[in-house]
């Protein structure tokens, strides 16, 4: 008697547990991603706050914190590299985003008009997005090489003396911009292509019947329709361009001097070359705040544009 009832009990409990789990499936299915986000983003941001008001050192493998208050802010005010890095980052972002947007839109329009080989162009244009950025940096480093690189070789054969490219303070930032345009134009191309392909071609036919020429069709019909896509894509690419690190690390290391120093690279150096974890954390925190404003604005813009459609 006793035995059977005990078995019944466990069976009943198990049944209840599985019903409970099943009824709440949606909650525990979402739990892992929330835990990941909390542990690997919220907690690190908390750490960043604490690090930015501390000095820390590993003593016999154990981390020791010393509270230093606002000392790192003082360091920031006297740091001559930060304004340079900010200026370079802004210049870099503005220039590459503009060039990439123009090229990306042009390519998208052209590819949408090419009936044959469109798949080929699409595939090839996508390649730079998938190559490891460090490999891209290496490829360009070989090509930029003063003595043996192909760029200066070609210039030599044209009777010109090639410049030092990445080692020339006036050209270092331009050199890495060229690489970035090669790398990221594809991204804007893909987004613009999606926009261009959804354009209503009947409308352009109608305009053509009414005597509009090709340029007028694009200017007065397609461009206004594409404007939301272009604005959102520009904003998105602007935010992503601030991440730039890999190629500059490889090609110039931020130099010569601070001529191609950007904010991500400088924070890396503060952390791992100068081993000032606290000060690096303060710079990272400020970057996070500034970029968050951009992201919020992007999200508002994206929602606004989607509502207009």
């Amino acid at each position: 008697m006793m035995a059977t009832s005990a078995v019944d009990m466990t069976r009943q409990q198990r049944w209840r547990l599985s019903t409970f789990l099943d009824a709440n499936f949606q909650y525990w299915a979402l739990a892992p991603i929330l835990i990941f986000l909390a542990v690997l983003t919220l907690y690190p941001v908390g750490q960043l706050l604490r690090m930015s008001v501390s000095d820390m050192a590993f003593v016999k493998g154990k981390l020791e914190w010393t509270y230093v208050g606002l000392d790192h802010f003082q360091t920031l005010r006297n740091d001559p590299v930060v304004p340079d890095a900010l200026k370079n980052t802004l210049l870099f972002v503005v220039v590459v985003v503009c060039v990439e947007a123009v090229l990306g839109l042009l390519l998208a329009i052209l590819v949408s008009r090419a009936r044959r080989f469109a798949w080929f162009y699409r595939s090839v244009y996508m390649i730079p997005l998938l190559i490891p950025p460090i490999a891209i940096g290496t490829i360009w480093r070989l090509m930029y090489d003063y003595n043996y690189g192909i760029i200066n070789q070609v210039l030599f054969e044209l009777g010109l003396t090639g410049p030092l490219w990445t080692a020339n303070p006036d050209l270092a930032l331009v050199s890495v911009m060229i690489v970035d345009v090669w790398h990221w134009t594809s991204f804007l191309f893909l987004i613009m292509l999606a926009g261009v392909e959804s354009l209503p071609y009947e409308l352009s036919e109608a305009a053509r019947v009414d005597g509009a020429n090709e340029v007028q069709v694009y200017r007065h019909i397609f461009f206004p329709l594409l404007r939301p896509t272009i604005i959102v894509a520009l904003m998105l690419r602007t935010i992503l361009a601030f991440k730039v690190f890999d190629q500059i690390f490889l090609l110039t290391g931020g130099g010569p001097g601070t001529s191609s120093e950007v904010i991500s690279l400088y924070i890396y150096k503060v952390y791992f070359v100068q081993t000032r974890l606290g000060y690096g954390a303060l710079l990272a925190l400020l970057t996070a705040v500034i970029m968050s404003v951009f992201v919020v604005f992007y999200q508002w813009l994206n929602n606004y544009v989607n509502r207009q459609r």
């Binding site: 941001v45 390519l107 244009y125 490999a135 090669w182 890396y268 990272a284």
Partner: protein, 275 residues
């Protein structure tokens, strides 16, 4: 559009294709050259695999170790990311949630995707040191998991949304629990999409540099990009081996472009235009 226009169109498009392909081809050719052919700058040379042998066979380089690390990191990352993102994406795409909650998760993922990763470098370094996983593949897997979560989530979310609800209702009527429905009905139907997501996550992990650099210090955990960057910091530049390493790291991208083109476009632009 009459002949001349079409020729011009394809001419311009081919020129851009050439601009993209030429550097990759140039690197491949350089990787087949001996040093004397590189410095002579001549177009004719005897191709040789020596640089690749140097990369993988000699004691000077540890590219076998680095390749193993890259594969381990990529494999573990995609396993973790797909499992976590699939459950979360299914939950949010199929069940009723308050807008505040679903909106919060979406916005949070957007932030993770868009903020510069340098923000997380310092804390991740401390976490890795404190947990004593610094300079192990595990530390890099931790970073790559969170970096790739948004992309995987958005892609899977859209694939699950395409699965017909009727199938799930039928499964429920036949007595499947929700978990069973998910595992036996939804996952198999969404398999092509999941595979594409997994491949993309792997490639993104394969090419990631910043965290691999800051969370490793020896060939025990270093991945291929970190090894390549090492070449650039040497005083005597080994051009041939550098080119070989860069080309080797590019191979997954070249394969991927031709097998999963459609899905890559989706993955790249989806996160872009969904808030």
């Amino acid at each position: 559009m009459k002949k001349p226009g079409t020729w011009l169109l394809h001419g311009v498009l081919m020129l851009f294709a050439l601009i993209i392909l030429a550097p990759v081809v140039y690197t491949f050719l350089t990787s087949l050259k001996l040093f004397r052919d590189i410095i002579s700058g001549s177009w004719a040379f005897d191709p040789t695999w020596r640089n690749y042998e140097q990369l993988f066979m000699s004691n000077r380089n540890s590219f076998i170790d680095l390749t193993r690390n890259s594969l381990v990191v990529g494999g573990l990352t995609l396993a973790v990311v797909i499992a976590v993102a699939a459950l979360g994406a299914y939950s949010l795409s199929r069940f009723r949630w308050r807008r505040a909650i679903s909106g919060l998760v979406m916005a949070w993922l957007l932030f993770v995707n868009m903020l510069p990763p340098i923000i997380f470098v310092g804390p991740f370094y401390l976490i890795a040191r404190t947990l004593d996983i610094y300079d192990t593949p595990l530390a890099i897997v931790m970073a790559h998991s969170i970096l790739n979560l948004p992309l995987a989530f958005w892609m899977l979310h859209s694939f699950f949304a395409d699965v017909p609800v009727e199938l799930e209702e039928a499964a429920a009527i036949d007595g499947c629990s929700r978990l069973q429905t998910f595992l036996r009905i939804v996952l198999p139907i969404a398999r092509p999409g999941i595979a594409a997501t997994a491949v993309l996550v792997f490639v993104f992990s394969w090419k990631e540099f910043l965290f691999a650099l800051t969370l490793s210090s020896t060939p025990a955990a270093m991945t291929i990009p970190v090894g390549i960057a090492g070449f650039a910091q040497e005083y005597n530049i080994r051009y041939g081996e550098m080119a070989a390493a860069a080309f080797f790291a590019t191979i997954p991208a070249l394969i991927l472009v031709f097998i999963a083109q459609k899905h890559i476009v989706k993955g790249m632009t989806l996160g872009a235009l969904k808030g």
